[in-house]
Structures are given as C-alpha cells and as structure tokens.
Amino acid sequence: MNLKTLIKFAAVTAAVATMAVAPGAVQAKKLKVGFVYVGPVGDHGWTYQHHQGLLAVKKAFGDKVETTHVENVQEGPDSERVIQQLAQQGHDVIFTTSFGFMNPTLKVASRFPKVKFEHSTGYKRSKNVSTYNIRFYEGRYVAGVVAGKMTKSNTIGYIASFPIPEVIMGINAAYLGAKSVNPNVKFKIVWVSTWFDPGKESDAAKALVDQGADVLFQHTDSPAAMKLAEQRNISAIGQASDMKAFGRKAQLTALVNNWGPYYIARVKAVMDGSWKAQDTWGGLKSGMLTIAGLNDRVPADVKALAAKVQADIASGKLHPFTGPLEKQDGSMFLKSGEKISDKALSGMKFYVKGIEGSLPK
C-alpha cells in the first residue's frame, strides 16, 4: 500500500465513521458553505458582521444551503488546519474572513482545486481563490465630513490598532473628509497595538477626550470608545456595526459592514456554475458598506451635506483621494485632478499632509 492509497483509505474510513454517527447528513444535496472567523461571533464588531452575512445566506437560500462557521480561529498555524478540514468535509465554498488567513487559504486551495475559496481583505488570488473587501475609506470620508462639521474643539481623536494600509487609509480618508469642511480641524491619533482590549480602548478614548477631542473615531473592534463618548457627552463614529446601543446620544453615525449581499451573490454563483476567481472591492455603491442613520441631533444642513457626499462617492463623482494631495512630508503624490489608483490605495503607508505623528518605516 503506497502512501496515497493509505491516505485515501484513511479518508474513506473517516467518512464512513462520520456517516455512521450522523446518518442522513449526506443525503440531501445541499451546497455546503463554510466560514472561518478570527474572533468570536459575539464580538459585536468585525466577526459579528460577517456572521450577519452568514445568516443572510441562510435566509436567502433556506434548505438549499448548509452553513458551517468556526470562530476564534487564530491567525497563526491553526487557520490552515481549520480551512483544510472544511474543504475535506465537502464544503463547496469557503469564506476566510481575516487578512492573516491569506497564505493558509492559498495553500489549502491548491490542494482542493474543486472547492471555491473566498478570502477577505487580502491581495493574493488563484484559480479558485477570490478576494473581496469593503472600501471602508469611503465611509470614513463621509464620517469625517460629519465629524468636521460637528466638532467644536476642532480636535478629532482617532483610536487605531496597527499601522497597516487599511487603518492608515482610513485615518487619511477621515482627515481629508473633515478637512474639506473644516480647515482648522486637527487629528490626534493613539495606537493601542491591539485589535481588541476593551479596557485599553477605553483608556485611549479617555486620553483623547482629556486632550480636547470631542469626536472619536476608532479602528478597533470593541464598543468601548463609543461607550466612553456617551459617558463624557461627546460624539463618536460607530465602527463595523451600528453601535447605537452603546452611544444613543454619542453616535453621530456608524459605518456598517454589510457582507450579506456579497455572500449571497457568490453562493448563487457557485450554485449556477458561474463562479470565477475575481477581486471585489465594494463600497457605498454596491451597498457592502452602509452608513447607519445619522443621529437626530445632527443639524439638517450637515445631514444634507453628508447625504450629498455619500451620493457623490457612490456615483463616482467624488473620490476621497483626489489631487492635489501631498504626503505628510510635503512631497506631492497626486497631481491636481488625479485620482489615486486602487493599487496605491491598498498599499498606503503614509499620512497625508496635515496629520501629525509618525508611522513605522
């Protein structure tokens, strides 16, 4: 018995064993859809929103699909095993929803050419690996406009996690949005070096408020900053999900990740055989990013302005990164009227002019 037959034999035994335990699980020919989450479903942020997408798939296809999700999968060595197991157990399409799953997804995909893979926020693709992401920066620009209008101290606080392009372009977009309506606005940025530590996020929010910020942005996962804004009677922008429960007064608006429509479209594509590996970077236009209702205390003219900016971005009339734009050090990177390319945007590693502080080289 050579190695391959041995493995096949083992796989068959495993399959038989599973069938013995779960009769009927294989009978109906459902499409099996797998999701790999980096956090717990109950994080009320990043993973929670992906799970809402899963639920949307379930709702849309009913008993034509069978969904599986694995939560709290760490980005180190464990993710490859989880993805492999999902593929091995006959999942037809697998969504891996964190950047750190990129190389593991590709590795597994090369071993399972018939299984479709979808990796969120990455940039490497192959024949059976698609990538998809949301243009979060579009929403941050709109929120920046609102924040720029609403700030009285002209100081906006920003709680950031790690200096990756995603976070940096978010800071830049929010700043440009705020600056476009308020030339005196200043950004204070605090990096907490974690995606999730409610205590520390709350401490950081406190530090920013104490230094005069009266609107808070965050690019971390817990609602701690929103809650602190509520307690301190200032404003904040909700991140990933609608955080109204944590900041009834404080939340000016929230940027909500809406993965459902994308997941439904892709599952459908697998069903009717039209699935192809592709890159999707959807924003306000596609509805993958939505802006949750503006707070009632936002004045009507600001609301109207925000709606217009949102519509302009959605229609393509306005791109948040349009020249003339200079980098922090004063060097020109976009000539007048020039729009940034998606490639330059997705690898952004510098602050635009006017933002203080430094980034790791």
């Binding site: 335990v21 797998g34 717990p40 694995v70 060595p77 095993r81 190389n103 070096s193």
Partner: protein
C-alpha cells in the same frame, strides 16, 4: 472515616490507570455538558476524542500541534524541578521565531542545505538570549524570574509586531504586516506527503530522550533534582544555585526558541504577527500533566493537542461554540490533575480513634 495516606513511592499501576480513569470521567462529564447545551453528546465526544485519531491528516496535525508544546514543556519541566519558574516560554518562543526567521529573510534567494540548520541555531540562541535576561536579573539582582520572564513575553510579542510591520515585512506584500514566504531550503522537510507533519516532531522526540538521559545520568541533572527537592541540602553539598538557574533558563529558553523557529519554518512558513498562539503558557500545563518527566511531557503534549484539534472538529461538525472547547479542556485537566491523588496517596478507611469519637 476516609483518610488520605501518602504512599512511600508513587504507584506504578495508578500512574497508568489514572489517566485512563480521568479520560473516562471527562467523557462522562462531557456527555452531561453537551447534553445541557442541546447537542448530541455521544457524537461530540466521538468527534473530540476519537475522530482526530482516524485519519492520517489529523494524526499529522496532532504532531504539528504537539511539537511546540512538547519542546517547550521539556525545558520548563526541567526548570520547575529545580524550582526555577520560567513562565515566559511564550516570549522565548517568539524571539526564537524572530531570530530564526530573520536568518531566513536575510538569506532570501540563496540556496544551501546549511541554511535551515543555521536558522535553528539562531532560533535556539534567540530563545536563550531572551531567557538569559531573567537568569541574569535573578542571579545578579535577585529579581524574581516569574515577573521578569512573564513581562518579557509581552515585550517579545510587541517586538515581533513592530518588526513585521516595519523592517521585516514583505517588500512585495503591499505593506501588509507579513514577512516574505520562506524559500524551499528554509522550510522544514515534511514527514508525510500532503500533510504538515514536519521533522520538528522527530527533534522533539530526540530532545525527550536526551533530557531523560541528562536527568537520569548526568551529575547536573541530579543537582537539578536535589535543588528542587531540598535547596538547603543542595547548598550544603556545594551545588551552585546560580549555575542551576542559568542552566535551566538557558535550556528552556533554547528549546522554546527552537520551537519558535520550527513553527515559523514549518506550518506557517513566514513571520506573521499571529505566530504566538499561547504555546508557551499551555506548555506549563503540559509540563505538569507529564509530572515533570520527559516522557510524561510527550503524553501531556499529545493530549492537549488532541483536545485542541478535536475542539475545532466539533465546531465544524456540530457548531459547538469555541468556548465549549475551553470548558471541556478545563474539565479534562481538572480530572487529570485530581487523579494525581491516587498516584501519590492511598485512600484508606480508618476507624475513628476512640478519643475523637468521645469528643465529637
């Protein structure tokens, strides 16, 4: 009344019987837990405990998961025997991965059979350097190694983060925080084709035998045991406490560093911020599960690895929340640890002494 009476020496039969008994008790408790959660209890137990043993891939994964636990566990166990409390294995693991990984990245594009051994040496050195800090602070300034080694864990993780966000990140990686993928000559040879089982597991097995021989045969191994059991006696015998501290910390640091390099050069194949997943802490449990004995550490490591892999499988197959795995692991450990009682003591029915009865 029931009395606990210490045995003269640990019971051999019980040493073999108790882990089995503990597993049986855990299964019973697990059945209750899963039934309470509304899941099919028998299927859950099957998936967690037995399914991972039924396929080559899962068995290979078992060794992948157990390798770092065992490697770190051996070193820690040695230290714990001597009363040296290195609880910073996680930090030494990270520094090892960083050192070994940096060699691979510096030599990017070059080929040669010598690269991998060099990475391993660098990794072990990286872990040793990180462990040398608590050793130095303890022997020179009397600073407790529990605190220093633990604090250095967080420093190491942040250092890894800053380096992969900065100087070590992949120049073609669109500024994402990951290093390049290591080349073929920089990744560990795989033992079984189309699995991730790598030679690191073989190294771990060798390390176990070496550690056992060392503790059994070498004079320093003897000194370690004496140091832990009777530090006074050790001092009278003229054993240098400092020497033991250095020895234990450097050994455990080196092994943890090696484990870090294996992890980076094996299943991961690059440096990523998410490399540390808590092996350094879990290895402390592994060391004690193995009763600080090298062979025990191997078993302990395999058992812990099994519950992790089984837990994942149960999530996939039955959508058990991942929290259940942790509760279940906790229970298994409780039973295993509680069973030590039967190994080291006898439980006897002792009639109450008359005087006591009169008083009561």
């Amino acid at each position: 009344m029931l009395r606990i009476v210490p045995r003269r020496e640990p019971s051999r039969t019980m040493q073999i019987l108790t882990p089995i008994l503990a597993v049986v008790l855990t299964i019973l408790a697990g059945l209750v837990l899963f039934a309470l959660l509304g899941k099919d209890p028998f299927r859950a137990i099957y998936i967690i405990f037995f399914q991972p043993l039924t396929s080559t891939y899962a068995l290979a994964e078992l060794t992948v998961k157990a390798t770092p636990l065992v490697l770190i566990g051996i070193g820690l166990a040695m230290g714990f025997r001597a009363g040296v409390w290195n609880i910073g294995g996680e930090g030494q693991f990270v520094m090892g991965a960083l050192a070994g990984g940096s060699v691979a990245l510096a030599l990017h594009g070059s080929d040669g059979f010598w690269i991998l051994p060099m990475m391993c040496v660098a990794g072990a050195l990286g872990g040793m350097v990180w462990a040398a800090i608590p050793a130095f602070l303890r022997t020179r300034f009397n600073a407790n190694e529990i605190l220093t080694s633990l604090m250095l864990v967080y420093v190491a993780i942040l250092l890894l983060s800053v380096l992969v966000h900065g100087p070590l990140r992949d120049p073609e990686g669109q500024n994402f925080p990951e290093s390049r993928l290591f080349g073929d000559m920089m990744t560990l040879p795989v033992l079984i084709e189309s699995t991730r089982a790598h030679v690191g597991f073989v190294v771990a097995l060798i390390a176990i035998v070496v550690a056992w021989l060392f503790l059994q045969r070498h004079i320093l191994g003897f000194q370690i045991k004496v140091q832990g059991q009777a530090s006074q006696a050790a001092r009278f015998a003229g054993y240098s406490e400092k020497r033991i501290i250095w020895l234990c910390l450097l050994t455990s640091g080196g092994l943890a560093g090696l484990a870090g390099t294996f992890e980076a050069a094996g299943p991961v194949g690059q440096l990523v911020p998410g490399l540390p997943v808590g092996y350094g802490f879990t290895a402390i449990i592994v060391a004690f599960l193995g009763r600080l004995h090298p062979f025990g550490v191997l078993l302990g490591g395999l058992v812990m690895a099994l519950t992790y892999i089984g837990g994942e499988a149960a999530q996939i197959a039955m959508s058990l929340p991942s929290a259940t795995t942790r509760v279940f692991q906790g229970m298994l450990l409780f039973f295993l640890l509680a069973m030590d009682l039967l190994v080291n003591e006898r439980i006897r029915w002792v009639p109450r002494p008359k005087s006591e009865r009169a008083m009561g």
